[in-house]
């Protein structure tokens, strides 16, 4: 498909997936597919697709128990986004000054 960071960015680029992820993060226990689906006005199959995308991005992991599949959020994966951001953080305030620092570090 595509590289890891792109998968991650695409996963969080969808509002529904951000909502699902958020629900899982603040949940006090793992939620089954059906439990998640009940919180959204969308078919279970639609939700399943989104969860698969989140899983492939590493943002969600799943533990099967009997006929149920319990989903957990893995917020740690967002550290990758943070890493990506870090580089640009130096350019937030004064672009030219920070660019100088960046170039100096490169030498």
């Amino acid at each position: 498909m595509q590289d890891k960071i792109t998968r991650l960015f695409k996963a969080i680029a969808d509002p529904t997936r951000r909502d699902i992820f958020h629900a899982l993060v603040i949940a006090t226990s793992a939620l089954s597919i059906t439990q998640i689906s009940n919180q959204f006005e969308m078919t279970r199959q639609g939700i399943t697709k989104h969860i698969k995308t989140l899983e492939e991005a590493g943002l969600v992991y799943i533990k099967s128990e009997g006929r149920e599949r319990f989903c957990n959020a893995n917020p740690k994966e967002l550290q990758e986004v943070n890493k990506w951001l870090k580089f640009y953080e130096q350019f937030w305030d004064d672009k030219l000054g920070s660019l100088g620092d960046y170039l100096n570090n490169k030498v």
Copy 2:
């Protein structure tokens, strides 16, 4: 179309757009559409589309001079992504402990 943060996430979810943005950030001066296009194996019109997406996300702004359009990066806009991340940062290390803090602050 869609909300601001979704536009922003979608803009950076595309590898080519991240590359364009990166090129603009590290450029020592504003780059024209043609100058940017020359750095990519894609038609100028294709690049123009991507730049428009970046512009609508607030990541790039454009200054017209004669027949040329000079593009600048606006990395500051990424602070919005950073804000979004901040909330989840508390869940990175120990999920349950941080959740407790979150819930307590909510009361």
